[in-house]
Symmetry: C2
Subunit: 334 residues, 2 copies
């Protein structure tokens, strides 16, 4: 493969000039005619710059890593999109990894830890990473930004507490009084439950305990079954994890509970799938795309040594998308 040296030889100039043409450096100047001559030689030889050499010289790879806890979660679609887009604007490419496969000593981790692989790291799902893995990552010379609430790291996140509040208030306004929260594990669920509590407290209702059944479809089904065993069955449910909403719908059908007539359901996080389910699921849309973009910007602030604008994203706010799974309470179930 052709190198700058070959191009230089073909164009009858020095290496420095070729490099300057490639990078548009102002330091080394040249006549316009020389520039086109070099350009032609590059074309003719099919020259492609060698990223590796460039990275070594500049100590910068134009690549960032993003680690997600459950990479398959459709919720991450827009997040990934935002990250890829913003990264491209910074001239960078994204190396995507899954927290689940990131065990101690795994190939991906070793790779990340070695120098000259990425310029920075974005992590969502810190809680799912082993402590020793996090410790290793912490020793990384390049900046790390956490895409959720973190104590000892720069972080940025969407407003989960607010989402729980919005979902719950919507149901309260539909006259529901027995509202349960089907949740998961970890800080995120806790925040959403907090929002649920606030909305309940605000109108003098007693919050039900947090039904933490985990993530995914099955967790939703389990959660609904548990909720229905209570002395007074709920008339409405806030579902922490959006994929759990699918399980709630399935379990409701299996139990002969009509949604929304007998039970209203509101999910947190919105994905395309929700509008195609029957009933279509009312959900709180989180600004994940913006989180992705903001995350990359904040990471590049850190990379440049600037102070990073972290914290909770309040613009845009979580937004309620009203569909068919929640309706006003018209009769009290016995």
């Amino acid at each position: 493969m052709a190198t700058q040296r070959d191009v230089a030889r073909a164009a009858g100039v020095s290496l420095a000039v070729v490099s300057a043409v490639v990078n548009g450096t102002s330091h080394t100047r040249m006549r316009e005619s020389t520039r086109t001559r070099v350009l032609q030689a590059m074309q003719q030889l099919g020259y492609q710059p060698n990223q590796t050499a460039r990275s070594l010289r500049l100590n910068q790879t134009d690549m960032i890593a993003m680690i997600l806890n459950k990479i398959d979660n459709p919720v991450y679609g827009p997040l990934r999109h935002g990250v890829y887009e913003a990264a491209a604007e910074h001239g960078a490419t994204v190396l995507l990894g899954d927290a689940e496969t990131m065990r101690f000593g795994s190939r991906f981790l070793t790779r990340l830890l070695s120098q000259g692989t990425v310029d920075g790291i974005l992590i969502r799902g810190e809680g799912l990473l082993d402590d020793d893995v996090m410790a290793e990552l912490r020793s990384h010379p390049k900046p790390i930004l956490i895409l959720e609430h973190a104590m000892d790291h720069p972080w940025i996140d969407v407003d989960d507490r607010r989402a729980g509040e919005i979902a719950t208030r919507f149901l309260v306004n539909l006259s529901h009084r027995h509202i349960v929260f089907v949740g998961g594990l970890g800080y995120l669920s806790q925040q959403r439950y907090l929002g649920y509590q606030q909305a309940m407290d605000a109108v003098g209702l007693t919050p039900a305990p947090h039904l933490a059944t985990g993530f995914g479809e099955q967790a939703g089904a389990d959660g609904l079954r548990q909720a229905m065993q209570a002395a007074t069955a709920p008339t409405a449910i806030v579902v922490n994890n959006i994929m759990s909403a699918v399980g709630v719908l399935a379990a409701a059908r299996d139990l002969g509970i009509a949604i929304p007539d007998q039970l209203s359901v509101v999910g947190i996080h919105d994905v395309d799938l929700m509008q195609h389910l029957r009933p279509a699921v009312t959900a709180v849309r989180m600004p994940m795309y913006q989180l992705g973009r903001a995350g990359v910007e904040a990471l590049y602030d850190l990379i440049a040594g600037r102070p990073s604008a972290g914290g909770v994203i309040t613009d845009p706010e979580p937004e309620l998308v009203i569909r068919d799974s929640a309706t006003a309470l018209t009769r009290i179930r016995d």
Copy 2:
């Protein structure tokens, strides 16, 4: 950050020895005591090898790219998993890209084309790439393997024709006679339609024309509506794209068609979601995980200059997963 030179200095040895310790090279030998001394120095200084320098020297990055046409499609979950796993076994990391964002001149494409970025490329969704993008990729010095049928490239794929046949034959065996195929665009759908045709022909039934409505949930809904406008309504449907099955279920509900009592549905490709829908969707599971693994192996064959074992994966075969969306025909609808 500590380099091999620093380690060498600290351990009182030469660069060569440090390199040999890091790589376990047999060429440069040393006393066991020297080795541990170097190891200690590495520990103390927190030495991490520099990937960039390594890649430059070895002309090999231990990174492969995978390009998918619709990265969000849950069907790709197991594929991605297989690829990541097999790549890790080869000591490599995976750079994941989306065909949709790979326009001419895009950051990701330029990056791929420049030397020293990846050792090889895996592509699924060649049909969705612009011709000029494919032309650029074709000029890439590193090997490219297509994860679907291809004419002028090494390729490997699952058996889509067979999947169409399996789905259709299952419905035929359930006594269905009016079976339609709701499909999409591109070679894959065509193959599956071919399988459908074969299964119909085999029992002397006339295949219905290919209802190509595209991909995704909406395409399924559109397909069902179109199918229902026929002079004699079908009693069963084979859905090409599994996410379209969600749309078929929704449209059926909207139209007041009971599944499976009035209409049987079988999807091609199986994803977790299917077992959580109501009715749970009967589907043909494709060996996508194995495709991922086999793809990586074939790519590394190419990288090593060995002949690559390509073609259609016949072991395991597509497998029918029977759930609740298809049932035996007991009465003829008018």
